[in-house]
Symmetry: C2
Subunit: 154 residues, 2 copies
DNA sequence: TTTTTTATGATATGTTATATCTTCTCTTTC
DNA sequence: GAAAGAGAAGATATAACATATCATAAAAAA
C-alpha cells in the first residue's frame, strides 16, 4: 500500500471531522447516513465501488439498503468535494483535501490498486492550453494515470 | 459540429482503408463484422455507445446481435488502436490517426458532444512528470477534458 | 403547531458489460 | 479434398453499475 503502516483510524477521523466542518460552514446537511458512507469510503486508500459500499452498509447491522441510498449519499459527497469519482474504475475515493473544491486528478497503481491524488498546477495549465490550441474551453478535466506506485516498483 | 460541412463518407472510407491496411500489415483479421462496426463507429464525430452500435447493426438488416458481438468487435478495434474508449462517457470513437498506437486524450464539447482528439507532447510530458513526482510510473493516461468547442462558444 | 422542504425508504427498471458454451468458418496439414 | 485445429461469431444467461418515481419520515421554517 502506498502509505506504509499508519494509523488509518486517524485518516478516517480527520476526513469526517473536516467534512463536518465544511458542511457546517456551507450550511449543507452532513447527515448520519452521509457520514457513515464517507467513513466507508475512507476505509482504505483504494477506490471502492457503490455496490461494495452497499454491502459494507448492510454489514453495519442496518437493513439492506437499496442502490439509490448509496448513490444519493455519494452524489452529495461528490457535490461537496468530499469524495471523487474515478471514471475508469466506476469507483469512488475520499478526497484528502476537501477544503477547496476541485476536480481530482489521479494516479492509480495497477498492482495494489492504491490511488493517489495529484495536484499539479503545471498539469492543469497544460490541460487548459491543450484545449485552447484546438479552440476548446476547459471546464472540467478527468485525468487518470495508471502505472506502478513506489512500493510496487520494487 | 466540430468539423463544418464536409464529405463524411470520405472520413469513413479513409478510416476503413487505413484499418484494412494496418491489419494486413500486422496479420490480424479485419473481418466483415469488425469492418462494419468500425464504419458504424465512424458514422459521426461524436462518441457512440456499445448499445447504440448494437441498434445500428440491427438496422442493417442483420438479425439482432447480442452484446458480446459488439463488445468483442470493439475490443479488437481498441486493441489495434483503431477505436478509443471514452471512460467518462462509456462510449467509443474512431481514432483519426491509427497508424501508430497511442493512448487517446480527448476534448469533449458539453453541448454538441463532438469529441476531438488531442496529441500534445507537452501534456504527455507533464503527465509523466506529475506521476514521477509522487513516485509513480506512467504507463497509460486517460485525459478527458469537457468544455465548449469553437462553434458552441458562439 | 402547521407548513414546507429535504432526506431517506422502497420498488422497479434502465444501462453497461462479461462469462460460458455452441456453432461456424477459415486455415493448415495430411 | 478430408480431417483437424484455431479463431471468430452466435446464443443464452447473468453480472455490475445506475436512475426514475412514488411513498414516508425527519428536519427546518413559518
Amino acid at each position: 500500500m502506498q502509505l506504509r503502516s499508519h494509523d488509518h483510524n486517524k485518516c478516517i477521523e480527520a476526513a469526517v471531522n473536516a467534512a463536518r466542518d465544511i458542511c457546517h460552514r456551507r450550511e449543507t446537511r452532513f447527515t448520519p447516513l452521509r457520514c457513515k458512507v464517507l467513513e466507508l469510503v475512507w476505509n482504505s486508500h483504494a477506490p471502492v465501488s457503490a455496490y461494495e459500499l452497499l454491502d459494507m452498509l448492510s454489514q453495519e447491522g442496518r437493513k439492506r439498503a437499496a442502490p439509490p441510498t448509496i448513490y444519493r449519499a455519494l452524489d452529495f459527497l461528490i457535490e461537496e468535494g468530499l469524495v471523487h469519482r474515478l471514471e475508469s474504475l466506476n469507483a469512488f475515493i475520499g478526497c484528502p483535501d476537501p477544503a477547496h473544491k476541485h476536480q481530482g486528478h489521479f494516479l492509480i497503481c495497477r498492482t495494489c490498486r492504491t490511488v493517489t491524488e495529484v495536484n499539479d498546477k503545471k498539469l492543469i495549465a497544460r490541460l487548459t492550453k491543450a484545449a485552447r490550441l484546438q479552440g476548446y474551453s476547459c471546464e472540467t478535466s478527468m485525468v487518470e494515470i495508471v502505472g506502478l506506485c513506489v512500493e510496487c516498483q520494487n
